[in-house]
């Protein structure tokens, strides 16, 4: 049976070129980057080269990048690190209502520690209004964290404007760029970004590497105390092969970005057009201002887990925001934040394209999906 992977927003395969770049650092140059001998210093050198390469891709200095194990770790460090370092300056943090669970849960934890959290609303497309962020900032605000682009509905946020407001008000601005890094050109200066999270496994790099950009001068409280790695900000033996892979993956994305975006937008729009032909189907997220590879829909009268398992039985991998599919048994907070009712959020389907997606894959999905929707609707008590 054909196997078609259309869940690139969840994770991506490691590109062959990335794997080749990583290989020497598993067995040949495997030493600990903190060791003083030449074996270790060789590892340190390649680590710093990777750091330099990635930093230049976002207009940052190398010493403003620290490597972590994941975007989740970076987001935890950004929020908790700033909050705990600045708790004497203030105790108010602003996030959006559509952030990734690692940001939401970090904020929840900080709330338990006595911090005040404001969740800025989004409109029906999932877009944050910069004015709402401005209105929410008060004299106790120490951090604003708004994601660059939604992992669920693909909507791209006006972070340059939001960053400008934060700069004007003297509040640090963090953005979770896990989904946008590698797809959209980012410049931390131009976009007024103070902290930024990025993830390796979203851009055809290995799992196990993430980064946190921290503007020079910003103090953060580390979460991992230990051997002084990453300028004392992140104790742990550095995962050199993963970081080498991360840097290589990022370079490939940068060089192929323009061409690849054009290709993906074409496929994505073909998919959206085709799916919306299905009766009682709707698009989630902004129709134009969305990630080049993301398409998220909801279908009336049916439930999402049934939809994705039926598609899985046809060899197609996608995801959903339905409650039944989440371990918490709650529908996607992102979809609810855009104004969907729970029963509508239950019927959602996220399709995310990638480097290895062919037009045939889209054609196959368009052939198979209407039949599946029809079948599940025929079992539903709510069919028209």
């Amino acid at each position: 049976m054909k196997r078609i992977y259309l869940d690139y927003a969840a994770t991506t395969p490691v590109d062959k070129r990335v794997l080749s770049a990583m290989a020497p650092y598993f067995s040949k140059e495997f030493a600990n980057s903190m060791s003083l001998h030449s074996f270790g210093q060789k590892a340190k050198l390649v680590l710093e080269e990777s750091r330099e390469a990635i930093a230049s891709l976002i207009g940052a200095d190398a010493n403003e990048i620290i490597f972590t194990s994941s975007a989740t770790e970076s987001n935890n460090l950004a929020l908790k690190g700033v909050a705990l370092a600045d708790k004497n300056k203030g105790n108010h943090i602003i996030i959006s209502s559509i952030e990734h669970p690692c940001v939401v849960e970090s904020a929840k934890w900080l709330e338990k520690q006595g911090f005040k959290i404001t969740k800025v609303k989004v409109d029906k497309y999932g877009t944050v209004n910069p004015k709402d962020v401005e209105d929410a900032i008060n004299e106790k605000t120490i951090l604003v964290s708004i994601m660059h682009a939604s992992n669920e509905i693909g909507t791209i946020e006006p972070i340059e404007e939001i960053g400008k407001i934060c700069r004007k008000k003297g509040v640090y601005f963090h953005t979770d760029a896990s989904q946008s890094f590698g797809k959209i050109l980012i410049n931390v200066e131009k976009m007024n970004i103070d902290l930024l999270t990025a993830s390796s496994h979203k851009i055809y790099g290995p799992k196990g590497a993430g980064l946190l950009y921290i503007r020079k001068g910003i103090k953060i409280e580390p979460i991992l105390h230990g051997g002084g790695q990453e300028n004392g900000l992140r104790g742990s033996t550095v995962n050199v092969p993963a970081i080498v892979g991360f840097a290589k993956a990022a370079e490939i994305c940068k060089s192929e970005m323009e061409k690849e975006n054009k290709r993906l937008v074409k496929l994505r729009d073909k998919l959206i057009k085709g799916v919306l032909k299905i009766k009682d189907s709707h698009l989630n997220g902004h129709p134009k201002n969305r990630l080049c590879n993301n398409a998220n829909f909801w279908f009336s009268f049916i439930e999402g887990e049934s939809l994705i398992i039926q598609l899985d039985l046809e060899g197609i991998a996608v995801s959903t925001g339905s409650a039944c599919s989440s371990f918490k048994l709650e529908p996607s907070h992102v979809l609810l934040a855009t104004g969907l009712r729970p029963e509508q959020a239950h019927g959602s389907l996220r399709v995310s394209l990638g480097r290895f997606t062919k037009e045939d894959d889209i054609n196959y999905l368009l052939k198979v999906l209407p039949k599946i929707v029809k079948k599940i609707r025929s079992i539903s008590p709510f069919k028209k």
Partner: protein
């Protein structure tokens, strides 16, 4: 309970659940049903409607001659709905009322713990359908005091849970 070595879908569901989900039995409506059971809550994401047609067998006992379901819900919900129709079709009302959620789970080769509530929902749908039948047919022969009392208790419990859930999701109505 769960047979992880028989699992398709990476350990979430058993082979039997997936097969049942792929080819569900007895879905649809029954026109002029003798009893209808409606359970679940669309806001929660699981809704089952169960329709039964009752007839007398050769011994004069009331049996479930026909049964159909309509379900809005996940793989587990559709599978438990389908399997319960298999378990009780052709059975007497007395026998049907003995079916438990554990019977449903066992017939499917197991369910993930997080999906156990779907097996409860299937049994509730059947209970409500039979309760509805007796309400409409006060002279039904299976309606012994024992059965009716038990049924009333179960119906009251189901209604109470319904109210609790509706209250929890009041902001969405």
């Amino acid at each position: 309970m769960e047979k992880t070595n028989n699992n398709i879908c990476g350990g979430l569901y058993t082979k039997k659940v997936i097969e049942t989900f792929k080819n569900p039995h007895n879905y649809g409506k029954i026109k002029n049903a003798d009893g209808i059971g409606k359970v679940g809550n669309i806001i929660c994401g699981d809704v089952m409607h169960l329709y039964i047609k009752i007839a007398k067998n050769k011994k004069g006992e009331e049996v479930i001659k026909d049964i159909k379901f309509e379900t809005f819900g996940c793989v587990a919900a559709i599978s438990t709905s389908s399997i319960i129709t298999d378990l009780v079709k052709g059975k007497t009302i007395k026998e049907a009322l003995k079916v438990t959620k554990d019977n449903v789970i066992t017939s499917l080769g197991g369910l993930p713990k997080i999906k156990y509530h779907c097996s409860v929902l299937a049994v509730d749908a059947l209970t409500e359908a039979i309760y509805d039948y007796f309400k409409k047919n006060k002279s039904a022969s299976s309606g012994t005091k024992e059965i009716l009392d038990d049924l009333q208790k179960r119906h009251d419990t189901i209604q109470k849970s319904k109210e609790i859930i509706e209250k929890r999701y009041k902001k969405w109505t």
